[in-house]
Symmetry: C2
Subunit: 215 residues, 2 copies
């Protein structure tokens, strides 16, 4: 069985989205700066049907992560980018559009049942209404021997951390200060995991740090 | 002229001290875990008159930093560990005791004038009552060509960041979640600096990331 990995980009001041999240600005003010490291990478571009792009240390990290990941778990807001898109059946892929880049089954935590949505590249959007453990069980079955990746947002990450289910954190630490927004590690209460550094990969754009959760 | 470097250990969730700071617990609950990476190092032990210790990547970072630093700036609380110690003239070195480990002039921001305190190893404690720019000017003069290091706490760091005076951040990112306490990057308002990664040094104990402040 693969690991359950929280795989997320965080600002140096601890945010995974900026302040003032809206439908037009689902990552909050300045939040898109967190992800600037990824858009120009060859692997990212390939996933979006484009050629070219950077083949650097960041690209290797992304390619490795995608190859190791057999299923993805995300929250409803990360899927839909806001209630307005969610309610629009014409936009089956939510915020991710007609060609979502996952290539594996995605399990979306929601309170509203909905039929799965299947895309040509292997991405499927599956809507799970009976909680994080059920979603994990479905994701593990879909991933077979590969890892299950928690893509966000913070609330979903915190639910899995509080439940003690996360094996590893792949934190992509962006050299960005947002000054406000959604904190990754809020609301953990007494469920603060003990961590061990597994590896660090340096680049100019972002610092990739993998932590093991100690049990 | 050397750089003005914020040199500080921060938890992965952004804290430089834990919650519930008291005189008996000046780093707050769990705050001592931030600094575990340093106590066993050969360079740290040597500064405290002890032999032996680790000579690993962390030790090299510490030795390099000490060699490059010509003066240190810190806040009153970091100096004294609390008002009770500060008021006790018998304890001239504040929380740092009779043998503080700096070896260079230290400039302490305070509202209360006090005569300098001189130690045999080259550490001097100098009390600056006319603000951060005056303290920096004095520290730069004392440091000559070397760097001036802001050692903390968070409030002093934030004052220098807001004033746009910081050149580099040496963040020692501890694989620790504190869940509460004193955040390094709070209260920066609209003075959020743009950062660039200069270098990353990996170890099992802590991740050393140096950022340049872009102007």
């Amino acid at each position: 069985m693969g690991t359950l990995t929280l795989n997320i980009t965080m600002s140096l001041d601890g945010f995974v989205a900026g302040p003032d999240q809206t439908l037009a600005q689902p990552l909050g003010a300045g939040g898109e700066r967190l992800h600037e490291w990824i858009y120009g990478l060859a692997t990212w571009r390939e996933r979006h049907g484009e050629s070219g792009g950077e083949t650097n240390a960041d690209d290797a990290v992304l390619a490795e992560s995608l190859a190791a990941t057999g299923a993805v778990i995300m929250g409803r807001r990360m899927f839909s980018g806001g209630a307005g898109v969610w309610d629009n059946d014409a936009n089956a892929g939510g915020w991710w559009g007609d060609e979502p880049p996952f290539g594996v089954p995605v399990f979306i935590l929601t309170h509203h049942p909905r039929e799965p949505v299947v895309f040509a590249d292997g991405t499927t959007f599956n809507f799970v209404t009976d909680g994080i453990e059920a979603a994990l069980e479905e994701a593990r079955a879909a991933a077979e021997e590969k890892n299950v990746s928690i893509a966000g947002g913070a609330s979903v990450a915190q639910q899995y951390l509080r439940a003690g289910l996360v094996d590893e954190l792949d934190i992509h630490l962006a050299p960005v200060l947002l000054g406000g927004g959604v904190r990754l590690f809020d609301d953990l209460g007494d469920a603060l995991p003990a961590l061990e550094v597994m590896r660090v990969i340096e680049s100019r754009a972002v610092t990739h740090i993998r932590y093991r959760v100690l049990r």
